[in-house]
């Protein structure tokens, strides 16, 4: 049962990050398909969360729910993070390969699933007064995720603590730059397309 073993290993990473990420890098225990599987599972969890989280803590307008949005909020940022982190660490003597970065980030996402699924169930039986428990668990999930991401980045690139923190902050900045360049690029393309179209229109109307 290799699949079951993968799951067991990913849980091991979440519980013992130092040990887990070390094995992930140097014993090739991390699987790309597992990381992508976790990403997919997280996307599904978030879709379910938006729809089915208890009414007491659910402030989503049901008419405005759109599962495609999760691509924007989860998959797109995930890819951006990996890309930005890779671009940055290749310049900053990071030892991680792109695949390793993807795997690490993917495995780090696991707590979000682990906590959110029980949290969704719990939220359906709590009252407003107990809603803080829900929010507490929500915050815990995020903290756990950031913690894993931190350890993962540190292990994969063999950085010191301070350098890891700097790298992570810089990665966020790079993400911003990538978004900016992307928007600029699309804007320019749009301008070019409209220019070509105008020229075509002019010619076709005159001809």
């Amino acid at each position: 049962m290799p699949f079951l073993k993968d799951i067991k290993y990913s849980l091991h990473v979440a519980m013992h990050p130092f040990d887990g990420f070390w094995d992930l890098k140097y014993e090739n225990k991390g699987k790309l398909r597992m990381a992508l599987g976790i990403l997919l599972a997280l996307t599904l969890t978030m879709i379910v969360k938006r729809q089915y989280v208890g009414y007491v803590v659910n402030y989503n307008h049901p008419l405005e729910l759109n599962s495609i949005n999760e691509l924007k909020y989860i998959i797109f940022p995930f890819l951006l993070w990996c890309l930005a982190n890779w671009s940055l660490t290749t310049l900053m003597d990071g030892e991680g390969k792109f695949a390793e970065i993807v795997i690490t980030t993917g495995y780090a996402l696991l707590p979000l699933i682990l906590i959110n699924i029980p949290n969704i169930l719990l939220s359906n039986v709590i009252t407003l007064r107990e809603a803080s428990f829900y929010h507490l668990l929500d915050a815990l999930a995020t903290l756990w995720f950031v913690w894993l991401l931190f350890i993962g980045t540190m292990t994969v690139h063999q950085y010191t603590v301070l350098k890891t923190i700097t790298t992570m902050l810089l990665t966020l900045a790079v993400v911003g730059i990538i978004i900016f360049l992307g928007l600029l690029f699309f804007n320019l393309i749009q301008q070019i397309v409209s220019f070509v179209y105008t020229v075509y229109q002019e010619l076709s109307l005159r001809g």
Binding site: V56, V125, T127, L128, R129
Partner: protein
């Protein structure tokens, strides 16, 4: 052939449909309300225009820019014909009872000069804010002069103070409150003897952070030329049975254009829902220019931006909206005042010099009645009416909340949860959920407890079974 004939049929049907007259619209405006999410949702019309009267029809000659309207406790209409400086009194059937053109002030004949506000006490005393003359005039019911109250005199009032009373209200104790033009300190309060006692309630100063920045970097000379940050003035007021004063302000930025002032001038308006009473939730906000308080804390505010009347209940929840700018019966050119009496709403149009009467529809009266019962805590009686309301308007969120609260009291927790969810009331939903949860656990305690014990036992046994061989294995390893 078949295609041809079918096309022919289609064309003839279309022709017939287009020839049929479309059903006449019952009202020149749409009924709507706002959902929890701030979306405008259609709703039945609560009040329909029934009749209108102008000065010519009343036999007094046209009213020139009438500024205020008051409906007395007996249902008599007092119209302040500002342009002509007179008061026209109509009875319930809209027959002209009296026209007060002037009065004898001591020895000489006196009259009004462009008065803008009018108030009639329960005893029938008429108070007029005689704007251009800078005084209040009190008349008795027949139009005989009683007294006049001039500009307030006190040390706190600067020498440059210009007194132009625009609106006047009188509470049960005889205290007089005046809305002055350009008076941003609040309402001018006089005691029953006409002595100035102070200013009451003010709007908060609002400023733009950007302006504040420029002000802080500019020199003193520059600063003196800049606009001062001063609070906006009240533009109208009304008083309720308990002596609370409702004020309106034309301010398209604030979220409290309507205030309910307690005797010490503090705003105590209740805002229950997510949306405060600000009128339309569009970019070009509503500008409230008049307010009318009816019983049970229900108040109606007149919006000059779109000529609409917004009716709110005591929790600040929007009940219904009527009216619109336009030129048909039931729409206005320049609405100036709103009043209500029993099942009718009266709106005075300054430009047309006309009063329009709106009478309540079935939907409107059901909402009114249900809301009255609801606000007096009779949730079960209210729930019956709310169910009727829902038959006419399934979008009416307040009805769901009303029914939900009633069910919650009756102990129908699960059903209450459904209704409170539909009405988007998280607080009461949560209460119902708590009660339901307790009830559910009490009923199913034995099953869950048995299940839990079984699981614990099972878990223990499995752990024992799994662990034992390992231990033996380890021991064997150690031996070998």
């Amino acid at each position: 052939m078949r295609i041809k004939s079918s096309i022919l049929v289609l064309v003839s049907v279309l022709l017939l449909v287009s020839l049929c007259p479309r059903p006449a619209r019952a009202a020149p405006y749409e009924g709507y309300t706002y959902s929890y999410w701030g979306d405008a949702v259609q709703s039945p019309i609560a009040y329909l225009p029934s009749r209108a009267i102008s000065g010519l029809e009343a036999g007094t000659g046209a009213w020139t820019a009438p500024g205020d309207l008051f409906v007395s406790a007996e249902g008599m209409l007092y119209v302040l014909d500002s342009g002509n400086g007179r008061i026209v009194v109509l009875d319930k059937e809209w027959n002209t009872l009296r026209v007060i053109e002037g009065f004898r002030n001591g020895e000489k004949k006196d009259s009004f000069n462009n008065p803008e506000g009018l108030f009639v006490t329960d005893a029938g005393r008429i108070y007029v804010a005689d704007t251009e003359n800078g005084r209040l005039v009190e008349l008795d019911g027949t139009g005989t002069f009683v007294r006049e109250i001039g500009a307030p005199k006190a040390d706190v009032i600067g020498a440059g103070f210009e007194y132009f009373p625009r609106k006047v209200i009188v509470d049960k104790a005889g205290r007089i409150y005046v809305v002055g033009r350009g008076v941003y300190e609040g309402l001018i309060e006089f005691d029953s003897d006409g002595q100035f006692t102070g200013f009451m309630g003010t709007n908060k100063v609002q400023f733009d952070p950007v302006d504040l920045f420029w002000k802080s970097v500019s020199t003193k000379e520059q600063r003196e030329k800049m606009v001062q940050f001063i609070p906006l003035e009240f533009n109208n007021a009304d008083v309720d049975e308990d002596g609370f004063i409702y004020t309106t302000t034309v301010d398209k930025k604030t979220f409290s254009p309507i205030k309910r002032l307690n005797p010490s001038g503090i705003d105590v308006l209740r805002v229950g829902g997510e949306i405060p009473p600000i009128g339309d939730l569009s970019k070009d906000r509503s500008a409230f220019i008049d307010i009318d308080v009816t019983g049970n804390g229900v108040y109606r505010a007149l919006d000059a931006t779109r000529g609409r009347i917004f009716t709110y209940n005591e929790d600040g929840k929007l009940l219904y909206v009527i009216g619109q700018l336009g030129s048909q019966l039931g729409t206005f050119k320049n609405p100036a005042a709103v009043e209500s009496y029993e099942n009718a709403i009266y709106v005075l149009d300054r430009d047309l010099g006309r009063i329009t009467e709106f009478t309540v529809t079935r939907f409107g009266s059901m909402v009114n009645e249900a809301n009255t019962l609801y606000s007096s805590g009779k949730h079960d009686e209210a729930a019956k009416l709310w169910r009727e309301v829902l038959k006419l308007d399934a979008n009416y969120e307040m009805a769901y909340v009303g029914i939900g609260k009633s069910l919650l009291r009756q102990g129908e927790y699960k059903e209450a949860m459904t209704f409170l969810k539909l009405g988007n009331d998280r607080e009461y939903y949560s209460k119902a959920l708590g009660k339901y949860r307790r009830e559910y656990m009490r009923d199913h305690f034995s099953i869950y407890m048995t299940g839990m014990i079984a699981m614990l036992l099972g878990g223990y046994v499995i752990v024992r079974l799994v662990k034992r061989p390992r231990k033996e294995g380890r021991v064997q390893d150690a031996v070998s």
